[in-house]
């Protein structure tokens, strides 16, 4: 501690350079901390949107392949299945937007309540959904995005089917993060019938199972039931389904983490350059200190401490700033924000703050070691000859 004032004075001798280096380190740690929240944030996000008793059954070949609609009734007959709803992608483009801006599906209205009870849709709205052929249930996020009201008529042009359908909104999914747009499968079937096309296929069957303990067994039974058929199935939990769906996001996160690592490496070089410049500029002073009795270890230690202190304070500030920022966003958005999407739920944990600070310490240590070693190892007589 007795050398701390000397270290602090040396850090303060070129305030602009110290400030800029500190800002670079702080910003890098801030980025690293923020992006480190992504894997955990996505997991939390998936847990929030996915039920542990709901599974999807789709074609084994992937979501682009369709299954016979007859599968839906067969699935309902399996013990443990509480409800099943055949869902078909409509790909509706709202005329104002001109392209697909929210997911729209044809569903079986009479089974919605059984499969998605956790959506807490108003029973009266579900009743209207069953009664009106052109009825639609819309997630609150989409309702708010376009300022739609219940009772309003909306036209969607399908990007999959050769139809444009007009719907009457009869209810909403009361969840601010739900973008869904559901309408009656029969409505689509009749529209296609008019074009001499029978709608006898389905994209996904969402299945609700009575007990979480039964999920694995039921999924195995479902896949076994359609094995060796022309359309073999792959059943997976809702969480797994969304995780696959967001697989590209995971890849994006990997790229972001890679870039963040490179940013951290760049900052390491910046910090090392700063430490190197500081040592070079102070060669005469270091020579004097060594001449008056400062040993090699002491010179090495104070120089490394200087770069480590700068990096730790700057990195710590960056980490704490990220913590405060994400906590603030979460508090303001309640874990969800239309603008930020799931990012509002990404919280920098104390462990991530610790990792950020550890990164800063390592950057400071590594940055300081090489120039400090150079300054400490030369014989003092050689240094004096060089600088005087």
């Amino acid at each position: 501690m007795r050398f701390l004032p000397l270290i602090l004075r040396n850090l303060g001798r070129n305030k602009l350079r110290t400030g800029l280096t500190g800002a670079a380190i702080g910003l890098a740690v801030l980025l690293v901390c923020f992006f480190l929240t992504m894997p955990a944030g996505i997991d939390v996000f998936l847990s929030q949107i996915a039920s542990n008793v709901r599974v999807s059954v789709h074609h084994k070949g992937g979501l682009v392949y369709q299954m016979p609609f007859a599968y839906v009734n067969k699935i309902r007959s399996v013990p443990g299945v509480v409800g099943a709803d055949g869902v078909t992608w409509f790909g509706g483009a709202f005329e104002e937007a001109g392209h697909v801006t929210f997911p729209s599906f044809a569903v079986e209205p009479e089974h919605v309540g059984a499969v998605w009870p956790d959506y807490h849709i108003d029973p009266a709205a579900l009743d209207r959904f069953r009664r009106f052929r052109d009825g639609a249930i819309v997630g609150r996020q989409t309702m708010e995005k376009y300022g739609w009201k219940i009772g309003q008529e909306i036209s969607l042009r399908s990007t999959i089917w050769p139809v444009t359908l007009t719907f009457r909104i009869v209810g909403e999914i009361p969840n601010a993060r739900s973008p869904l747009f559901w309408f009656q499968r029969e409505y689509l079937a009749q529209a296609m019938q008019a074009r001499n096309w029978t709608l006898d296929i389905v994209g996904i069957v969402w299945v609700r199972i009575a007990d979480p303990a039964l999920v694995d067994g039921v999924m195995a039974k479902l896949d076994a039931m359609f094995r060796n058929s022309p359309a073999e199935t792959a059943a997976e939990t809702e969480k797994s389904f969304f995780a696959s769906f967001f697989g590209s996001l995971q890849g994006f996160v990997t790229i972001i983490l890679l870039v963040t690592g490179l940013v951290a490496l760049c900052v390491l070089f910046i910090a090392a350059n700063t430490a190197s410049m500081a040592v070079r500029e102070r060669a005469r002073e270091i020579a004097v200190l060594r001449a008056i009795g400062f040993g090699r270890r002491l010179i090495f230690g104070t120089l490394v401490a200087e770069s480590t202190l700068l990096a730790t304070v700057a990195g710590g500030s960056g980490a704490l700033l990220t913590y405060a920022f994400t906590a603030g966003v979460k508090a303001a958005a309640g874990g969800w924000s239309t603008q930020l999407g799931p990012l509002a739920g990404f919280l920098v944990s104390p462990a991530i703050v610790g990792e950020g600070m550890a990164l800063a310490v390592v950057v400071g240590l590594i940055a300081g070691i090489a120039p400090a070693y150079g300054a400490a190892q030369k014989p003092v007589a050689t240094i004096l000859r060089e600088v005087f």
């Binding site: 000397l6 004075r9 002073e285 007589a381 004096l384």
Partner: protein, 235 residues
Amino acid sequence: MAQPLITLRDVSRSYERGHDIVHALADVTLTIESGAFVALMGPSGSGKSTLLNLLSGIDRPSAGEVWVVGQRLNDLSEDALAAWRARHVGLIFQFYNLIPVLSALENVELPLLLTPFGRAERIRRAETALRVVGLAARARHVPSELSGGEQQRVAIARAIVADPDLIIADEPTGDLDARSADEVLGMLRDLSREFHKTVVMVTHDPRAAHWVDVVYHLEKGLLLGVEPGGAERRA
């Protein structure tokens, strides 16, 4: 008769410069008594600074023996020499070489950071050293706020603050005007006379000879002669 503080026996120092070997000092034998004020004089390249580095434990000889304060310096490692210097040697340089971001008081305190003294004791001793050189009132000033003469006096305070046996001064008046140079030389003489410090000074300044007890003349790495200084003659 005073005991010798410094004894050099057949000391040589050579070092490599590219493919050449430079003989900076050759077969120097001398003794310097405790409390003496000594000047090393000679032209550039005569080996004065090399000799000074050997006396102060900054460098080690290629041959011969260097004994200072009862310690054979040849045997000490680089780290042991640093610790020995901190305890026994005070250094004064031509260009003061104060740390620009530290105040006069903090500069003087620097050698005491290597001692076990607590902060209060370090400050007390640094203030005393500044009083000795007449700069107590300038303790809070940084070097850029001091004149050349004042900075050299701070450097003297830094050299004496840890109460060393030996004070080494490398051209301490080389960058000063005549009045400041006289002040510094007078101060070094007082350290020798009143505080019984052994002072060894390299200088080109012919006036310095009037202040010292002994003048050693060097040329081309050889000790050519010894003559009494002005102080000795007056005594």
